[in-house]
Amino acid sequence: MIIRGGIVYDPSNGIFGEEMDLFIDRGKMVEEARGEEIDASGLLVMPGGVDAHAHIAGKKVNTGRIMRPDDSRLGTEPRNGVCRPSTGYTVPNCYAMGYRYARMGYTTAFEAATPILEARHTHEELQEIPIIDKGALTLFGNNWQVMECVRDKDLSKLAAYVAWGLRSARGYGVKIVNPGGGESWGFGTNVKSVNDPVPNFDVTPAEIIRGLAQANELLHLPHSIHLHFNNLGKPGNYTTAIETLDLLKDIKPSRMRQVVHVAHMQFSAYGGTGWRDFESKAPVIADYFNSHNHATMDMGQLLFGSATTMTADAPLEYGNARLTHNKWSNHDIELEESSGVVPMIYSRKMLVNAVQWAVGLELALLVDDPWKVLMTTDHPNGSPFVNYPEVVTLLMSKPKRDAEMASMHEQLQKRTGLGEIQRELDWADIAIMTRAAPARILGLPDKGHLGPGADADITIYNLKPEELDTSQDHSLVKKAISTAMYTIKGGVVVSKDGKILCTPPGRAFWVDAAVPQADTDRLMPDLQEKFAKYYSIQLSNYAVQDAYLPHANVIRAGLSIEPLQEVA
C-alpha cells in the first residue's frame, strides 16, 4: 500500500509536516512498496494514536456498566454486517471501544490498572475489544509480597516477584496506586503522606514506591513505574506530588526513558486547604517537570458532563460517593488491592470542577517539552476518551479556551492562571503527545512512528494543516480529528470517514522478564505460604492461561537483557 502526498507528522523520526509518500508492506512500514494507493494530498497524516492510560477492561469497568444502565442507553448503535452493537458513553461495551478508538484514529490503548488476581477478567474483555492493540498495567502498590520484600530490603526477591506477577497477570508494566492506602483501606483507613506507615506492614508509601522503581529498573522493563500518587484528588496535594517525585530523582533508568510516569497529573496538582480555597498549583508542578528529567505525566484532563470515576484508590472513591451522595461500588482484592467506582457529573458552573478543568490544560501548556506530557482524560474518570478532540482543540486554540472560560464560574480567573497563558500547541506537539511520546514512554519501539519497521498504524485526517488556522478554526479541527478520514491498523484500512470497514483482532502486549532462578527459588516458599494460608484460591489456578491471549505479543525483559535496548 502507498499513501501519497500526505503532510506527515512523525516526530520520532524528526518529520514535522513534510509532504511525503508512505509505504506499507505486510503490516509494516517499509522504504518501498506497491499495491493499493490512497491519495492523501495535502492532508494531515500521523502515526495511529496511542493511549497510554485508560480504563478500558476488567472488573471495575464492568462494574461501571452493571451499576450504570443509564449510561449503556447512550450511544447505542445497532449491529450491522461488520460491527457488533455499540452501547454506552462513559462505560461503552467492548465493541464500541474498539470502533470508537479506530474512528478517532487511535490504534493502541493500554488498560491502566489490573490486580493480578483479577487479570483473567481483564484479558477476557481486552480480547473482545476489536481492532486496537492493547496491554494492561499490573497493580503492585498494595501487594503483601511487595510490602514484605520492601520491608526486608530484599530487592532481588522483589524483582523476582514483580517478574512473576507480570507473568501471572500477563501484564505489561508496574502500576502503583495510592501505595499503602489500598492495604489500609482493608480496615477502612488510608495513608495520609508518603511517610505515613502502612498498618501491619512496617513500611511507608515512600519505601514501596522506591522499592518498586528500583525493581523496575533492575528488570529493564520497557515501561517505567506508572504512579498514581497518594492523596490524589485532595486540596493541597501538590506537595505530595513534589515530595514523591523527589524520592525518585536519583534512580537511574535502565532504558532511554523516564524513571516514573505520573498518571493523570491533573488530579494531583491542587492547592488550597479545602474545597473553599481550592486552587491550581499547576505552575509549580510544571516548573518541577521543566527542571527535572526523570518524570513524565499524562494530563488526566477533566471535561464537563458525565464521567464514571473508577480507580484502585478505593478511599478516594468512598470520598467521592460521600461528597456527591451518588451510588458507590467498592471492591477490595485480597492481598493485593482495593478499588472503587462512582458515577460523576462535572459542571462548568461548579468552581472546583472548573478549576480542575483548567489545571489539566495549564499542565500541558506550561510544561515546555511535549515529550513529557501525554494527552489523556484518564478515561472515563475525567471524561470518556471520545472527547479527546475537545482536549486537543483546547490546547491548540487560545480563543477556544477564552470562550469556554467566559461561560464558567466568575471566580475561576482567581484560582488559575490559565487565562494568561498564550501558548497554542501545534500539530507537532499534538503528534508527540498523542503518538510518539506515549509509545516512547510505554517502551513500544514499533508504535507511535512511521519509520521502516514500525507497525503500519496510520491516521489520515480530512484536514489540510497548511491551510487551516487551528487557533481560529478550532471547530473545524475538532470535527476533522473526531472522525479520521482513514484509520489504518497493521496495514489494513479499518475505518474510513467514520465507517468501520473491518474488525481484525488486536494484539495483547505483555512483558516476560527473566530473573535468576535462585531469586525465584527464594520467592516461591513465600508465595506457597500465602496461597496455603491467605489467598482464597490455589496457586495453580492463579496465573492467566494463554487461552486468554489468542493474539499475544510477548516482550522480553529482565536481568539478562543486555545491552539496553533503545526505543525509537
Partner: protein, 439 residues
Amino acid sequence: MSEATIIKDAICSFCGCLCDDIIVEVEGGKVQRARHACPLGSSKIMGHGRIESPMIRKDGELVESSFQEAYDRSAQILLQANKPLMYGWASTSCEAAEKGILLAEEVGAVIDSTATVCHGPSVIGIEEKGLPGATLGQVKNRADTIIFWGCNPAEAHPRHFRRYSSNSIGRFTPQGREGRKIIVVDVRATRTSRNADKFVRIDPGCDYEVISALRMLVAGKGDILPERVGGVLKADLAELAAMLKAARFGALFFGLGLTHSRGRYKNIDNALSLVAELNQHTKFVVLPMRGHYNVGGIGQTLAWSSGYPMSVDFTRGMPYFNPGETAACDLLARKDTDAALIIAADAASNFPRATAEALANIPVIQIDPYENPTTLLSDVVIPCAIAGVEVEGTAYRMDGLALRLRKMVDSSLPSDEEILMGILQSVRKQRQMMANEGA
C-alpha cells in the same frame, strides 16, 4: 483399563463458591472420587444419567436425530420466531455465553439468565446504589463480624463457612470461628442459624422494615423507632446495630430471602445503603450469595458485550434492557415470546407454573446434559458435554473472581459452545438460502 490419574486443584462447577481445591481421581475415563467436594459438588462431578442422543419431536414424540438435524431444526425455529427467548446460562462457561450472545444478536433474540429468578433484584439494587464488596479472601483474612441475611449457606453453599467466611482462618483472623461474631437474620431457624452467635428471627416480608430500623439505629436516630419492628424487639435491634458498628471488618452476605420476598429489589437497595452507611463507622462489605456456579459469569459476559447484565433484548438490533419487560418470566407471562432456547437451566421446573405453561405452548429447544421437566416440553433436545467436568472454560465466582475450569474427563458429546456455533452456522446457511430464493 487406563491408568488412574489424579487431577489436583480441580474446580467444582456446582455453586457460586467455585471451590478450587478438589482432588479428582479418574480411572477408565470416569471420575471415581472427588475429594474435598461437598455433597452438592460431589453429585455434580461424579455424574449421573444423561441424555444420550439429540432428539426432535415428531408427531408428539421425541425421536432420536443427528446433531446436524437438531441444529437445522433449532435454526429454523429461531428464524421463524419474531422474538425468541434464549434463557439459562448459569451452568455453562462464559465462552458458551459469548457464542450465545452472538447467536442472539444474529437472530434478534432476548437473552436472559437464571439471575432473573434469583439475584435479578440484587442487580437492580446495585443499579440503584452500587455494591460495596470485596473478594472472599478479603473476608477470610479480615472479617470479625459476619451477617448472613436470608441465606442458608449450610445447605446451599456448604463449604462457604470453612473456606471463606465464619470458620475460615486468615492473616488477621487467626482464631477463625472463635474470633468472630456470626449473626443470622432469617424468618426461620436453619442449619446456618445454628452456627450463629446471634440469631434474629424476623416476620416474613419484613426485611425492608428491619433494615430501615438498623439504618436509623446506626445513624443514631433509634429514639423514634417503635418497640417492635418486623417482629423484632427494639432492644434486640439496638444490640445488633451496636455489634455492626463495633466490627473491625464486617461482611454482610445476603440470599434469596431478600430478593424473593416482599420488597424484592428495594430490600437490596436498603441493605446496600446500610452497608454504605456502616462505612462511616467502620469497614463493611456486602456480597450476594450467588447460586449456580457461573450465574455471575453470564452477567459479566453480557455486561461487557451489551452493556447490561441480564434480560437483554436484541430484537431491535441494539441491546435494550428493561427487567419487568424483557425478563424471561415477564415475556412468557405476557406471551410476548414465540420460541425459546433453554440452555444449562431447567425453566419448566424453576418458573411459576403459569409461566412454565406459556413455555409449553411455544417451540422449545433444550441444550442440557440431563433430562428434566424442560425436556418434556421441548421440540428439540440437544445433549452436551458438561462444562467444568468435560470441557474447559471460564466461570465467575460469587465475588466476581474469574477462574478457569479444568477438564476432568473426555466426552463424546459436543460442548455448549460447539452446539451454539452449529446452530449459528445453520442460521447463516438457511438465511443465505432464503436470500438466494428471494433473488
